[in-house]
Amino acid sequence: MAGTAVLGRLTWQVAEVVDVVTETPRVKTIALDVPDWPGHLPGQHVDIRLTAEDGYQAQRSYSIASAPDSSALELTVEYIADGEVSPYLTEELRPGDRFELRGPVGGYFVWEPSRGGPLLLVAGGSGVVPLMAMLRHRVSSRAEVPTTLLLSSRGWDDVIYRDELEELSMDGIRVVHTLTRSQPDGWTGYSRRVDGDMLRELGPTPGERPHAYVCGPTPFVEAVATSLVELGHEPVCIRTERFGPTGG
């Protein structure tokens, strides 16, 4: 599966579900076997196309969670109550099911070790998904890039990839959580929305010229990107990806 992303024509391919993993009560990771997958860059997404028995089709885009050198292509999907596609993906799908997929898509919200760092990743909720691909790739490629992940979640049980993030933090990646709605007993971390003070405390400073990647719901991304600019970070060093429940 390792390989360089091919920027040619994107044809529809058949993906077969090999595993469905529960990440949080609302979020599942779907591991896929895509025989002719051309490879991808961390941060890219795929389009998927579902077809009902009567031929009706629906398409959506989902960020890739797995690193380029992973054995399976993984998508992490959040359940959206009134969504058309995400309830199917998170509640119905099981190993052996198949659907169509094409990609990878997107050449801007990507990070490769050759871009260097420091790396500042800021995520709201499932906005962590494309950033996780970057983190996983940083580890598997043994890139020595100072890396900070600031992840905003509603509560401790809503933290996507919680155990793996714990392991990453032993691996030299600084993982910082903020829990905006509820905190476990004895919580000493942040318990408010990401703001300028938090970003200043954490660093890196604008003088270190970090590459910032911000992903989450639109109001989150607007607030974080604006705060980073106000702190003195160059707008060109801040890459954003936004999504909301309408993506469901």
């Binding site: 629906a58 398409q59 058309e84 919200f109 607007e222 936004r242 993506g247």
Partner: protein
């Protein structure tokens, strides 16, 4: 290849008779999602201008006040984002591009819209005249929000919405079709939603 049936997928069909207004692969939303590659730029109106540059007999420039004195029109259009959402019957107010190009002498056949924040997108000139495109400054009767491209954005509703460049500051007229920002990052050079021209090679 016959389509792969997704076991147990039923989907949600439109039942309001509007299905023929939604291009292939799109779904409708009542929200107004935001997509941009970087932070939202904020420009003071007294520093804003709109220029037409490139292959023109002479540069054209409007300050914000001059731009707002140009005749504008209200339009109700359907918009289609390459990320799959479509929004029907959106109400805009803007200055038609042909008003801005009036009296401009050029042999150019293409335009590159340029914007605060460095974003660019390319368009054939024929696609932005004759009532097909506007520089919009109001949405739903209100001044355009910065996150939706305010103070002014391009509005080219017959193409995917990335062509409707936010925070637009001018047009560079060119004789060749020069890929803009997304067009250099895997997205289609032209972007017709009805032919589902999302990505390179579509």
């Amino acid at each position: 290849m016959s389509p792969i049936i997704s076991r147990g997928f039923r989907g949600r069909r439109r039942d309001d008779g509007q299905a023929d207004r939604v291009p292939p692969g799109q779904y409708t939303t009542d929200d107004f999602p935001v997509l941009s590659a970087g932070p939202t730029p904020h420009v003071a109106l007294d520093e804003w201008d709109f220029t037409i540059v490139g292959e023109v007999d002479e540069l054209r420039r409007w300050s914000w006040d001059e731009f707002r004195e140009l005749p504008s029109e209200e339009v109700t259009v359907d918009i289609h984002c390459v990320t799959k959402w479509s929004k029907l019957d959106t109400l805009w107010e803007g200055v038609p591009i042909e008003t801005l190009l009036e009296g401009v002498e050029t042999a150019a056949e293409y335009a590159v819209a340029f914007c605060d924040g460095g974003y660019t997108t390319n368009l054939p000139l024929a696609d932005i005249v004759d009532g097909k495109a506007w520089v919009a400054f109001a949405y739903d009767g209100e001044p355009l929000d910065p996150e939706h491209g305010g103070p002014a954005r391009l509005l080219v509703p017959h193409l995917y919405f990335w062509k409707s460049a936010k925070w637009v500051r001018g047009l560079q007229l060119t004789s060749t079709d020069e890929p803009g920002f997304w067009e250099s990052n895997g997205y289609h050079l032209y972007g017709d939603p009805w032919r589902e021209q999302r990505y390179w090679g579509d």
